[in-house]
Amino acid sequence: MLTAGSHVISISDFSRADLIAVLDRAAAMERNPGRPLDGRLMATLFFEPSTRTRLSFEAAMLKLGGRVIGFSDAASSSAKKGESLSDTIRMVERYADVIVMRHPRDGAARLAAQVSRVPVINGGDGANQHPTQTFLDLYTIAQEFPELRSGDRELVVAFAGDLRYGRTVHSLLHALCHFRVRVLLVAPRGLEMPADHLDHARAAGLQVEVLPDLQTAAERADVLYMTRLQEERFPDPLEFDHIKATYRISAATLAKAQPRLRILHPLPRVHEIATDVDATVHASYFTQAANGIPVRQAVLATVLGA
């Protein structure tokens, strides 16, 4: 459930109705945000740095009339002095109306939510979850493709890149299980989608196809969700160079794509999307990033009961 007082920890906590409610509220925020959070205080506890996520939450809060306190890296926090996470939360919940937290450990946000009497919003816990990223991914898809919500046509969503460690693709895949979607997967050997996520998607009724190359995926998809390949995942630098060259979208490789294809990427991109894609009709990743504001405004206003 996502309502006043809710914690926002994991995409698996939310139903289709919850997701739709976030999309609706985010659309309303884009039209007319107002200042419903006047006088409310948000604490951003960033135990590891993530400038992008922190700025997006802070901008969302400030634009709704709220205020912000917090820290942006563990070195300046009490965790450095050995304070337990639960003690930090017990202190901060007495200052703030809502806590946004990013932490390097998997499950840290769930622990915080068990301690806190004010809503905790997970801004990323290790490799585990980052639910507001998933909300904004979904919002971007729904904006471009009304059939996601209506179900009038099966939407084809391709995921490409590091599907094994990419937390954003796992969460989005789970969210898409609530909709009429066909999923295409393209990953280098060793970075394939883990079996438990695949099983979950298939059990939920999604059609899932594994494709050998990015080109085919780009030609068939409505949405191409790209992720960054991280060099440290490849023990062999030569292999990384080879894969890097293969997992790259450029204006030329999109020549045969459907006009309606939209490319998403959680950003920052490195080599996987050439800059000549930016000017094409397909590039939706900057809109996607901008959608972080109305989506996070929607989440903040909802959990604060405004």
Partner: protein, 158 residues
């Protein structure tokens, strides 16, 4: 035929009968000693039967804990490592109650999470696993959300 010899049966007794306490039977032979170590406190009298013949399991183990009932923690431990075992409560050499160990819906604070980056391995905080599948037994960490075979979990010391 019961696999548990008792004084009243008068048959060949493979493991010392206890007057009062708990008998854990039908333990897979490979984990008998582990079960014995995990359910026995420092002052408990414990009898162990290893590699006994069993129609159901081929070879099985029996562990008898004299003088007390199993704690909730003991039962959760058993459910993790020997979910198919059975438990008999003995009063005055007689079986007063017999039931399968069974699997609870969740395991609380008895095992470490197998994910090294799980917050429960870095904060002083009890672990919590929800059972997601019973055969084979799979559990999902409430914190890091990883699903692992229960057999892969490392039990915490008593």
């Amino acid at each position: 035929m019961s696999d548990i010899p008792t004084a009243s049966h008068g048959r060949n007794r493979m493991v010392e009968a206890i007057a009062n306490g708990t008998v854990i039977d039908h333990i897979p032979a490979a984990v008998t000693l582990k079960v014995a170590a995990l359910v026995s406190g420092p002052d408990d009298q414990v009898f162990i039967g290893q590699n006994l013949r069993s129609a159901r399991l081929g070879r099985k183990g029996v562990v008898k804990v004299s003088g007390r009932l199993l704690t909730g923690r003991d039962l959760q431990t058993l459910a993790l490592i020997a979910p198919g075992a059975s438990i008999c409560i003995i009063r005055n050499y007689e079986i007063a109650e017999k039931r399968p160990v069974g699997v609870p819906d969740l395991f609380e604070a008895i095992a470490r999470c197998a994910n090294p980056n799980c917050v429960t391995n870095h904060e002083r905080w009890p672990t919590l696993f929800d059972v997601t599948h019973r055969d084979p037994l799979l559990v999902r960490c409430r914190y890091c959300e990883r699903t692992v075979p229960a057999a892969d979990l490392a039990l915490l010391p008593r």
